[in-house]
Amino acid sequence: MTDPTTTTDESVAQEVHGGHAEGEQSMRGLYVTIFLTLAILTVFEVYIPSVYSAAWSGTTKMLLLCFLALSKAALVATYFMHLKWEKPWLRWIALMPVYMGFAVILILLETMYR
């Protein structure tokens, strides 16, 4: 999607103004879609430990749960917190704590191979 901060051209601005109601509806639709995706992924998350058995390795379960959690967190940050439409500097600030997440995953992985 084009960065909105670059849409300063007058003709584009008029286009924005004319399509604002449509944009509001499309944004609400997008929010509902993200909400439903989060809800469905949560159901998967809760289901995974309950079906965990010897047939599944602990690594698979852990990686799957970490992937689902990080995907959900990314969806919230990208769409609900509007990072998708922000300038890169604000995105870099938001990414600062991510390295802690990687550290946590590394520890969990190390634990499994002990």
Partner: protein, 217 residues
């Protein structure tokens, strides 16, 4: 570029009366400040989860969380928090559309969701304490378990619970202003709603990670 996409982007990050900054666009100082706060707060949570991982990894024994913690109830709390994020994002949209009724409705639903989450957490803590999971001493079904399980559980979820409490208070303050019509006057007037929205979504985002790392793994 179709008008719908442009309008959608405009709706998500509205043009403000502020001049365009080459690095932060039209973001207000408050918004940049809130993001810096969120980043450092995220590192606080990261530190707690990091410590949890180290303590759990180095422990001789560790109970299976899914056998002790009430996963269905916590999943319900997670769902409630996700619902409150949706109502929050609708409240932010309502402020940008100068829709006061929609803004008040969105804020009320979000506050209600936060209170439900806190109620569930209080109920969960009460149940766990009576079952033997204390802050410094832990037992389960009469058998002693590693006390670090309770310590780390209450430290992480308690820290998050305090954020939810702070969020509900913050939302209540914004609701007071919304009832007076302060945030639906156009221009940058809706900015405080966007800021409380960022904080609330952050609380939701953190819970998503806490739910997985503390409860499910």
């Amino acid at each position: 570029m179709d008008s719908g996409h442009v309008a959608a982007a405009d709706h998500a990050a509205p043009q403000t009366s502020l001049p365009e900054d080459p690095h932060f666009g039209h973001a207000t100082g408050g918004k940049v400040g809130m993001w810096i706060f969120i980043a450092q707060d995220g590192m606080s949570f990261g530190g707690l989860l990091f410590a949890y991982g180290i303590l759990r990894g180095s422990a001789a024994s560790w109970p299976v969380p899914t056998e002790i913690l009430g996963i269905p109830l916590t999943a319900l709390a997670t769902f409630i928090l996700i619902c409150s994020s949706l109502s929050m994002v609708f409240a932010v949209a309502a402020a940008q559309e100068r829709d006061q009724a929609g803004l008040v409705r969105g804020l009320l639903v979000t506050i209600f969701g936060g209170l439900c989450f806190l109620g569930i957490q209080v109920w969960e803590y009460t149940h766990l304490v009576h079952a033997g999971i204390g802050l410094t001493q832990c037992s389960w079904e009469g058998e002693p378990v590693n006390s670090l399980f309770g310590s780390t559980f209450y430290a992480v979820t308690g820290f998050h619970g305090m954020h939810v409490t702070a969020g509900v208070i913050y939302l209540s303050c914004i609701l007071r202003g919304a009832l007076k019509g302060k945030y639906t006057q156009g221009g940058d007037s809706g900015s405080p709603v966007e800021l409380v929205g960022l904080f609330w979504h952050f609380v939701d985002l953190v819970w998503i990670l806490v739910f997985t790392f503390i409860y499910l793994l």
